[in-house]
């Protein structure tokens, strides 16, 4: 089982690396460096003017230091097929999970060291936490993370499941208050280490492994990771979770009379497939946010036009969404017309997007004649993109 675990970990690491290379592309790294530089500059400037030893500094240091506990879950790499093929391996699952637990520590430890490094000047100079106490606090957080992962491991067996929310809140509370009296952190660290040693050295009573729970937990964990990756690149392993969203049904035509099969499908996909709806919502929110930041109707108009264009551009792949569905190919649906039908749906989506952006403009920008002109111009741009650009693009791409 240990061999299997290591083999899976190696494959998982390679897959993660593949996506991380795509996520941390040149532009993103450059943007991160600038952002980090700006943050550090602000931090350094603030340190100069900040008063020393205010009562809330230590709880802040403690709370911030405990954040890596919330980063990362227990990586198990358990697959649905294991329900069939590893079912009699219950008693060996602890052996399987041992290297998994170590691997699961990788990201939280990196986060902890990074955060601890950044916080160190503030903690020692402004919050007046002694250096040794600070180091002990960092080690205690690490011990707490290991303990949390052990709880996750414990939950994988048929036992009374321990609530992770409770565990996390407990750790947050402990570390927030522990640094107020630096000595307490020594006691907490010792206690955590004793509990860990007890758990690690105690012979485990093998109970039934909760395979279905383990599969579900791992699927949820992977889904969260893929969600992050998919913000930067296409993730083929990602399975979108369709949601009913009944509250959006008012956006669907009430009668079938004016419907066609392609439009019928695309409308529902846009509203219920999180890949599509999230994109639309995210882009609309982005347009509102940058409009609020620039506080100028001309800039807001220009940037919102760009967002409208990018929204449509990213939604175009919807055209081939049903190509792999065997029933779509068997039903007498005119797939040659799907491009035109998608244009109709997206053009309507753009009008909705224009309406929402314009309403927010009324709330966040100074109301004057120019703002109404900007709204009118954005509507014209949305119509042009929907009725002129999209049909041309569809033709070019032979959708």
């Amino acid at each position: 089982m240990r061999k299997l675990a290591k083999k899976r970990l190696k494959k998982n690491f390679q897959q993660s690396l593949k996506y991380l290379v795509l996520v941390f592309n040149d532009f993103f790294v450059l943007a991160l460096i600038f952002l980090f530089g700006a943050l550090m500059f602000w931090y350094a400037q603030s340190m100069k003017v900040m008063p020393e030893n205010l009562w809330f500094y230590r709880p802040i240091v403690g709370a911030l230091l405990s954040l890596p506990i919330f980063v990362g879950k227990l990586v198990t790499l358990i697959q649905p097929a294991d329900l069939q093929f590893l079912l009699p391996e219950d008693e060996n699952m602890l052996i399987y999970l041992a290297p998994m637990l170590k691997y699961s520590l990788l990201v939280p430890v990196i986060c902890l060291l990074f955060l601890a490094g950044i916080l160190f000047p503030f903690a020692t100079i402004k919050a007046l936490v002694p250096s040794l106490t600070y180091v002990i606090a960092v080690l205690a957080v690490l011990a707490a993370k290991i303990l949390q992962l052990k709880v996750m491991e414990y939950n994988l067996f048929f036992t009374r499941k321990v609530s992770l929310i409770t565990v996390n809140l407990l750790f947050l509370a402990i570390f927030t208050f522990a640094l107020i009296w630096p000595q307490t952190i020594y006691i907490i660290a010792i206690l955590l280490i004793i509990i860990l040693l007890f758990l690690l050295l105690k012979p485990q009573n093998v109970t039934l492994f909760d395979w279905r729970y383990a599969v579900k937990q791992e699927q949820n964990r992977k889904s969260q990771i893929y969600n992050v990756f998919s913000m930067f690149t296409d993730v083929k392993e990602k399975v979108p979770k369709i949601k009913r969203r009944k509250y959006l049904d008012f956006l669907l035509p009430k009668s079938l009379a004016k419907e066609n099969p392609n439009g019928f499908l695309y409308r529902r996909s846009l509203l219920r497939n999180p890949e599509n709806l999230n994109l639309l919502v995210r882009m609309t929110a982005f347009a509102v946010l940058i409009s609020w930041l620039v506080q100028n109707w001309l800039w807001a108009l220009g940037l919102s036009c760009l967002v409208v264009f990018l929204t449509v551009y990213q939604l175009l792949p919807m055209a081939s969404e049903f190509d792999d569905n065997i029933m779509y190919r068997i039903y007498p649906i005119e797939s040659a017309k799907r491009g035109q039908d998608l244009v109709m749906v997206l053009a309507l989506a753009l009008i909705m997007q224009w309406l929402i952006i314009s309403l927010f403009w009324l709330l966040i920008l100074p109301i004057n004649l120019q703002l109404f002109e900007a709204s009118g111009l954005l509507l014209i741009f949305s119509l042009l993109v929907g009725r002129l650009y999209l049909p041309i693009k569809i033709k070019q791409r032979k959708i």
Binding site: L256, E259, N260, P261, L265, N325, M327, I330, Y331
Partner: protein, 262 residues
């Protein structure tokens, strides 16, 4: 055989309908799986397609549905060829796959509406028919459910309901009994019988002959990608030299021996 009165009724209702597979050779990536198949199904006829795994049943079905391009030969329904007029051809065919395939974004109600739209059905009549089918398969209280909430058997029932709702001339059914409860199996058999009585054409691939023979009288045996024989179960027994005491499953052993010696 159909009675004169019934065949006249069918002819009036359906015109001269026939599924014709003419010298079909096809398969995947240029490798022929089915070789020179000839098959004909007339109105009011249900034909069972039987054979071992890998004999070419699914490949034949995929060709009929237009999912694979034939290397040679033609497929037509009522004289309309699949290759020259796919849209008109598909309007006459509905399909129940072995593994249910639904749209994750659509509720059960919307699957029915999509079928009405795609097959251009009379909405009033179709909704009435849908209600009957849904009640029959105990799905009438699940109209607002997404496929994610359905069990495998329920999904299969949705496939059956939409296929029979489409009311096409040809119904292609691939291994329909797996995952269905006995009540649903009985309902499906009744629906097939009813469709046959109404002059529809049925092509069904199955291994479960005990259920199939309640609705199907003729069978085509596929082996090594060719049709060895077409006939009733009795005719098949005679063709393969089965004694009265022999189980019908012996045919599969004979087919296996033939495959090994091919």
């Amino acid at each position: 055989m159909l009675s004169y009165k019934k065949s006249k009724f069918i002819k009036r209702k359906t015109g001269i309908m026939v599924l014709k597979i003419d010298h079909l050779t096809g398969g995947y990536a240029g490798v022929p799986v089915v070789k020179d198949i000839n098959l004909e199904i007339k109105p009011g006829e249900a034909l069972g397609l039987i054979g071992l795994n890998g004999a070419g049943k699914s490949t034949t079905i995929k060709h009929i549905l237009g999912l694979l391009r034939p290397q040679k030969g033609k497929i037509s329904v009522n004289g309309i060829e699949l290759s020259s007029n796919p849209s008109a051809f598909k309007k006459q065919v509905s399909y129940i796959p072995e593994m249910p395939v639904l749209y994750p974004e659509l509720t059960l109600q919307e699957h029915l509406e999509l079928t009405i739209l795609s097959y251009n059905l009379n909405k009033k009549k179709a909704k009435k028919r849908a209600k009957e089918l849904l009640q029959q398969f105990r799905l009438d209280d699940k109209l607002d459910w997404l496929p994610i909430h359905f069990s495998k058997g329920m999904k299969q029932k949705v496939m059956i309901v939409t296929a029979f709702l489409a009311d096409t001339q040809l119904l292609v059914i691939d291994e329909p009994f797996t995952g269905l409860d006995p009540l649903a199996v009985a309902n499906l058999i009744a629906l097939i019988k009813q469709a046959v009585d109404n002059g529809k054409m049925i092509l069904m691939s199955t291994h479960i002959l005990a259920d199939a023979e309640q609705a199907i009288s003729n069978y085509a045996v596929l082996n090594n990608g060719t049709i060895e024989v077409v006939g009733s179960l009795q005719q098949l027994r005679e063709h393969y030299g089965l004694k009265a005491a022999d189980s019908f499953d012996k045919i599969y052993r004979i087919l296996n021996q033939e495959q090994q010696h091919a």
